[in-house]
């Protein structure tokens, strides 16, 4: 344990978290495939989870870790609903390209 505390400073974890989050954002914005977009969202969530855990470890606070459990729970539920929606959309539209799924447009 002391190895972590001594050798890997908090900033590194935060940096990794930021990189993962940015990758998620960029993927979310530029990818056309709905499943990739979905995976990008998961990536962002996990990036946030990482920074939560890192902070909780740094400050010896258990709240951060509890938050992570919540996020994981929501992410699991979201994955179930989201994938179901994706399948339904695919059945109707026969495509998973995000640009083509513009039902909200007037």
């Amino acid at each position: 344990m002391s190895f972590l505390q001594n050798d890997v400073p908090l900033n590194w974890y935060l940096l990794l978290s930021a990189v993962l989050f940015s990758l998620g954002v960029v993927g979310f914005l530029i990818k056309r495939n709905l499943i990739t977009v979905f995976m990008s969202i998961e990536l962002m969530l996990n990036a946030v989870n990482l920074s939560f855990v890192a902070f909780a470890y740094q400050w010896h606070e258990v709240k951060g870790q509890i938050f992570v459990f919540f996020v994981m729970m929501v992410a699991a539920a979201e994955a179930a609903v989201g994938l179901a929606i994706i399948i339904a959309v695919f059945r109707v539209r026969a495509t998973l390209a995000v640009d083509r799924i513009d039902l909200m447009k007037l």
């Binding site: 908090l10 909200m104 007037l106």
Partner: protein, 661 residues
């Protein structure tokens, strides 16, 4: 004051008739429509007679002893709940019965009922039978409200209401453009008069603090020294209203056109009752006019001028109803003349006799028109004496009456007016002379009508005139009898009866003078007859020769002094131009339309801009979300949080100390 006269029923019965016939009439059989339409005015007439009988009993018996059911005049009925009560203004539904309104009611409901009977025959083959009777009943409702009103405001309600009924009935044949235009003309010209009346009402309210006739009279009685000034203004405003309703100069133009309506309507509304409302108004508010000598003089001048003016136009009209229309205007001028010399009872006396003989003239003319199959041009009539005997004899009585031959009704009333004018100062002599000249002209044009219609040969060979049905002949005969006897009561006893309402009529102080004046008036009427006899019976080619000899004068009269044309150029055209260019183009299209266009344009433009955000594309939303989040983050990290967000307690509880690590 014991015993109720149920005055409120007098207007409400015709109103009920209006509602029933107006709503259900088109689904009811004709006999039922006629029954309802006749029953309402008949019951009202009975109630008026009842009121007359009961009040006469009370007047005849000794003061103190009161027979059962008798009532004394003036008699007031007030609806328990006030109509309007705002601050100092209080107006009630109050009905006021005094000799003046009683006489007027007798005329309105009595002649009205006769004309309802006549209408059953006259309108038998017309479309819109139920509509006609419902409008006629509506008119009676408003007219009785007008007459019975105890305050100026309620009178104004009746005043406007009869204007409405008049409009509806003038435009009864609404499929003809001319009838629709005539109705509009009557309505608009009356609006001008009503504007004056309304200003008068406001001024009365402002200066007396009340609208009740008897209270106004009381206030005036307390201020004995108050003459002229504001009272003159009030009276002139009321005169404008009266001139509009009673078709006096310069607002008479609507009445000749009003002849587009069915003939019984012309008889009832535009001869016997509604157009006399102006005279009634002046008599009703005589206590104001008595204190405003200038206004009285204006009334007299307007009346005399109208009488002469309309009579000259009547000389050359060829439409039988238009001759009668100008005659009506002229006779109303007589009544105004009488009001103007403060001989109110003489004015009301002439109003009553005029109601009889003018209704008779119109109904007889209607009978002629009916017999001629709708033809109104006298040049195409002639020789109807033998074919329409009842119409001929009743019309003859009416013609002799209006010409003023003794002992017929108008002889007495016209005589009273001329005498009153003669004895009222130096200016009165001029008024008398104008009245005398008008009497001559009246006699001339009436006998002209008589000769052209009934004598000579029938000038349209393909028409086969037939006498009218009994329902039309009976009112003719009754009105003929009234035209004969209506004046026998005499001005002395009539004015004595009216005295509580309009003050005493100056008694004849000089019997020999009165005899001479009477003789002169009868001679004038005789002269008019002789001229008509010469020109229209013996030498029928003479009128045309005369017209050819004086083309300018004839054209001036035939075109009614070009008054309609002058009004058209001076008033209507500029008003039209103003409406079209200034109101229509500049204000409506330019300013109002511009503002609306600007508002709509702004909304449209912002909508077009904002619309681009809502692309429906998921990734564009996501991009905006990201950009916004980034912007927020930048804002948070570059602005000292404590000063803005922290102070407002929004609680962005980021602890930033570790940033320094």
């Amino acid at each position: 004051m014991n015993g109720s006269l149920h005055l409120w029923l007098i207007p409400l019965l015709p109103f009920a008739g209006f509602l029933v016939n107006g709503i259900l009439g088109s689904r009811l059989p004709r006999w039922l429509v006629s029954t309802i339409g006749l029953l309402a005015p008949f019951l009202s007439f009975l109630l008026v007679l009842n009121a007359y009988a009961l009040t006469s009993i009370s007047a005849a018996t000794c003061p103190g002893c009161s027979p059962v059911g008798a009532a004394a005049l003036p008699y007031v009925e007030v609806f328990p709940h006030p109509w309007i009560a705002i601050g100092g203004l209080r107006a009630d539904f109050s009905f006021f019965l005094d000799p003046l309104s009683l006489v007027m009611l007798l005329v309105v409901t009595g002649v009205g009922f006769l004309i309802h009977i006549y209408s059953v025959g006259y309108m038998a083959h017309e479309e819109g039978y139920a509509r006609y009777f419902s409008f006629l009943n509506l008119f009676l409702f408003f007219m009785t409200v007008l007459v019975l009103a105890g305050n100026v405001l309620l009178m104004f309600v009746g005043w406007e209401g009869v204007g409405l009924a008049s409009y509806l009935l003038i435009s009864f044949y609404f499929k003809w453009d001319s009838a629709a235009a005539a109705g509009k003309k009557a309505f608009i010209v009356n609006r001008i008069g009503d504007f004056g009346f309304l200003i008068g009402i406001f001024l009365i309210l402002a200066s007396f603090g009340t609208l009740n006739f008897s209270q106004i009279a009381q206030v005036l009685a307390l201020k004995a020294a108050w003459h002229g000034g504001l009272l003159t203004v009030i009276c002139l405003c009321l005169l404008v209203g009266a001139a509009g309703k009673s078709a006096q100069l310069p607002l008479y133009v609507w009445l000749p056109d009003a002849m587009e309506g069915p003939t019984p309507v012309s008889a009832l509304i535009h001869a016997a009752t509604m157009v006399t409302a102006g005279v009634y108004l002046i008599a009703r508010t005589h206590f104001l006019f008595d204190r405003a000598p200038i206004a009285l003089a204006v009334v007299a001048i307007v009346g005399a001028a109208t009488a002469l003016f309309a009579a000259t136009i009547g000389l050359v009209q060829n439409d039988i109803k238009r001759v009668l229309a100008y005659s009506t205007i002229s006779q109303l001028g007589y009544m105004f003349l009488a009001c103007g010399v403060a001989a109110y009872s003489a004015a009301i006396f002439h109003l009553v006799t005029h109601a009889f003989f003018k209704a008779l003239l119109f109904l007889a003319a209607g009978s002629v028109i009916h017999a001629m199959g709708g033809e109104q041009d006298m040049r195409k009539m002639g020789g109807l004496r033998k074919r329409l005997p009842v119409t001929f004899w009743t019309m003859t009585i009416a013609v002799f009456t209006i010409a003023g031959f003794p002992p017929l009704a108008a002889f007495f009333s016209k005589d009273a007016i001329l005498y009153s004018a003669f004895v009222s100062g130096t200016g009165g002599k001029i008024l008398w002379f104008v009245g005398l000249l008008t009497a001559l002209l009246t006699s001339l044009y009436m006998f002209r009508l008589w000769y052209m219609t009934f004598f000579g040969e029938l000038r349209s060979p393909d028409v086969h005139p037939h006498e009218s049905p009994l329902s039309m002949r009976a009112p003719l005969v009754i009105l003929a009898l009234l035209s004969i006897c209506g004046g026998w009561i005499g001005i002395e006893s009539f004015s004595a009866y009216l005295a509580p309402s309009v003050g005493f009529h100056p008694a004849v102080s000089n019997p020999s003078l009165e005899f001479i004046l009477t003789l002169v008036a009868v001679l004038a009427a005789l002269e008019g007859w002789l001229i008509a006899d010469k020109y229209y019976r013996r030498k029928t080619e003479r009128p045309a020769q005369l017209a050819a000899a004086l083309p300018a004068g004839y054209k001036l009269l035939a075109n009614k002094y070009y008054v309609d044309e002058i009004y058209g150029v001076v008033l209507v055209k500029p008003l039209f131009a103003f409406s079209q260019y200034v109101l229509g183009w500049v204000i409506d299209t330019g300013i109002l339309g511009g503002i609306a266009w600007l508002l709509a344009g702004t909304a449209n433009l912002s909508g077009m801009i904002l619309q681009r955000w809502q692309s429906g594309n998921l990734r564009s939303y996501a991009a905006w979300l990201t950009a916004a989040a980034a912007a927020l983050l930048l804002f948070v990290f570059h602005v000292p949080i404590g000063t803005y967000l922290g102070a407002h307690g929004i609680g962005l509880q980021l602890n930033l100390h570790w940033m320094g690590h």
